[in-house]
Amino acid sequence: MTKKKKETQKMNVQETKTMETQKEIIPEKKTPKYAHRLKIENDINTDYVISGRYKFKIQDPKELAKHIFEDLEPDFGAKIKSGDFLVAGDNFGCGSSREQAPVALKAAGISAVLAKGYARIFYRNAFNVGLCLVECDTRFIDDMDELELDIEHNVVRNISKGINIDIKPVPRIMMEFLKRGGVIEYFKEKKGFEGLV
């Protein structure tokens, strides 16, 4: 083997090592999370999240998750990857009290919903089952924008647009539920709600 060839081989080895090192780093780097927006913006009701046709038929959340928003945009659910965000306008989750709605969104991989406002029953239900809801101005978030949510600093970063959007702090009670995975876990641990008031 000539010296040159040896050097080339060395370089190759080094390159391979560098690549391996990079590979090791990749899993530590966060996978990008994207925004998903429906064509309609406001008053998205829980019938739209999951139709009554399915809430009675299916008790498995993963199965429910396949049918979210089916009556509005049949392919919508398939585009969502684990950890992505659902983004909407005003009064998200109005209508029926069905808890299958936040359960299906969570099972679909939605890490948090970002909306200008929520209907009250859905708001409680979501945190009760451990789904995070964030109130913020969603005008500057488009479908498939890359987002980063930082609840501690009350900000959502729109990486695609290079802007930070302030979020309304999540109420303390809801954070208590969220960090335990839901209200049942809170209730069992604290043996009631006395600590909330």
Partner: protein, 420 residues
């Protein structure tokens, strides 16, 4: 500081003076689930690892949304409810008893001043009999079932004063649709609404139920009325418990006061696909209709059936139109039979179905075909609500529904004013 009705009810149920914005833990007088939500109530209750319910007499389950069962999946949920009822000794209203929001007050479970939770968004209905009642999810309901309590944020209150004299052929459904169209689907989000005025005073308790039932369609937590003689008479007829009538203080603090003069109001129609998309009948008259549905927790009570029967008597449903009538409870069905109303419906070529929610939720009866238009006395017209996203739903009063069924197109019930 002086208090609103909900501030007083929350004070009574928490043992401390409550004001809007406070978080309180309230004792729940009664709670229930229906077949769309009870499966998850039972799952959540099991997760709480309780071996008994807080009070057997303060809870019930109702099979109404998809009853009788149309498929094996629903049958499994119904079976789960029956088993839970036997295991914990709690009451179950099985197939054909009726729709939860009529059965619960009719069975005497609610009286004035109560705090009631239901795993159904239209639980706000009992505001009409001076109770704080609101819809919650299955897990919140399970917590109330297990502990007799839950936590609440005391809402701010909007005062609505509704005055005037309604023309013949115009009813409480038209009034509440008009208000929802005015304020919008989230106009009262997270708020309590107190209803006052001549129009409310002149309404029967049945008519008042229709108004409170739809409070959630403007986002409200409850839609509550003061108790008058009619209220007390109604609750005493159905419940053995003493009513605790609650009035707001005259100088209670409201976040908003809205005044309406509805003299001369036209019949109102909520057009597809939102409840706040409300038009005067003059603007939608003539729209072709394929199916008419009279019933539900909004408008399936005796008075509603009587109004529809006055218009339908001696008439036939237009060729090609399906008219479905669903009394809200077995009791109402029996009374309607005695009064000859069922004869009138059948002679008009209607299909009279078993008490329950009927086609409202689109899970077991009266599912629309692609492109069909329905006229319904229900409370929601969301795309897909009656089982097909390619159908359209218009909402209005039982009178408008009956006139529409005869004509096969949206029609003004004031044409029948001599009968009303």
């Amino acid at each position: 500081m002086k208090q609103t009705i909900v501030e007083k009810i929350f004070s009574d149920h928490s043992g401390k003076r409550a004001k809007a914005g406070d978080i309180i833990i309230g004792n729940v007088d009664f709670c229930f689930g229906q077949d769309g939500t009870s499966g998850m109530v039972i799952d959540s209750f099991r997760k709480l690892e309780m071996d008994h319910v807080h009070s057997k007499n303060n809870f019930c389950m109702i099979i109404d949304h998809s009853a009788p069962s149309p498929n094996m999946g629903v049958s499994a949920i119904h079976d789960k409810m029956r088993n839970f009822s036997r295991e914990f000794g709690v009451r179950l209203f099985d197939v054909g008893c009726g729709v939860c929001h009529h059965l619960v007050p009719e069975s005497g479970y609610v009286t004035c001043g109560d705090l009631v939770l239901g795993a159904d968004s239209h639980t706000c209905t009992y505001g009409a009999i001076n109770a704080f009642s609101t819809g919650v999810g299955s897990t919140d309901l399970a917590i109330a079932l297990a502990s007799g309590k839950n936590w609440f944020k005391v809402p701010e209150t909007i005062k609505m004063i509704i005055d005037g004299k309604l023309p013949k052929g115009v009813y409480s459904k038209d009034v509440i649709l008009h208000i929802i169209g005015d304020i919008g689907a989230d106009g009262a989000n997270y708020k309590s609404v107190e209803f006052y005025g001549d129009i409310i005073e002149n309404f029967s308790v049945d008519a008042r139920f229709t108004m409170s039932n739809m409070a959630v369609e403007m986002g409200a937590k409850c839609g509550i009325m003061e108790a008058d003689k009619k209220t007390i008479q109604w609750v005493k007829k159905h419940s053995s418990r003493d009513p605790r009538s609650i009035k707001a203080d005259s100088d209670a603090k409201y976040c908003e006061i809205r005044e309406y003069d509805l003299s001369g109001l036209s019949p109102q129609v909520a057009c597809p696909h939102t409840v706040d998309n409300v038009e005067n009948i003059e603007d939608v008259e003539g729209t072709k209709i394929d199916q008419v549905f009279i019933g539900t927790c909004t408008n399936g009570r005796l008075e509603d059936l009587e109004i529809a029967a006055k218009i339908l008597k001696g008439n036939k449903v237009a060729p090609g139109v399906k008219l479905l009538v669903t009394p809200a409870s077995k009791q109402i069905y029996l009374e309607a039979l005695k009064k000859g109303l069922i004869d009138i419906f059948l002679e008009a070529e209607a299909s009279v179905n078993n008490p329950g929610c009927g086609p409202c939720v689109g899970t077991h009866q009266g599912v629309l075909a692609d492109g069909e238009n329905a006229f319904s006395t229900a409370n929601r017209n969301f795309k897909g609500r009656m089982g097909n996203p390619n159908g359209n739903i218009y909402l209005g009063s039982p009178a408008t529904a009956a006139a529409t069924a005869i004509a096969g197109k949206i029609s003004d019930p004031r044409e029948y004013k001599k009968r009303l």
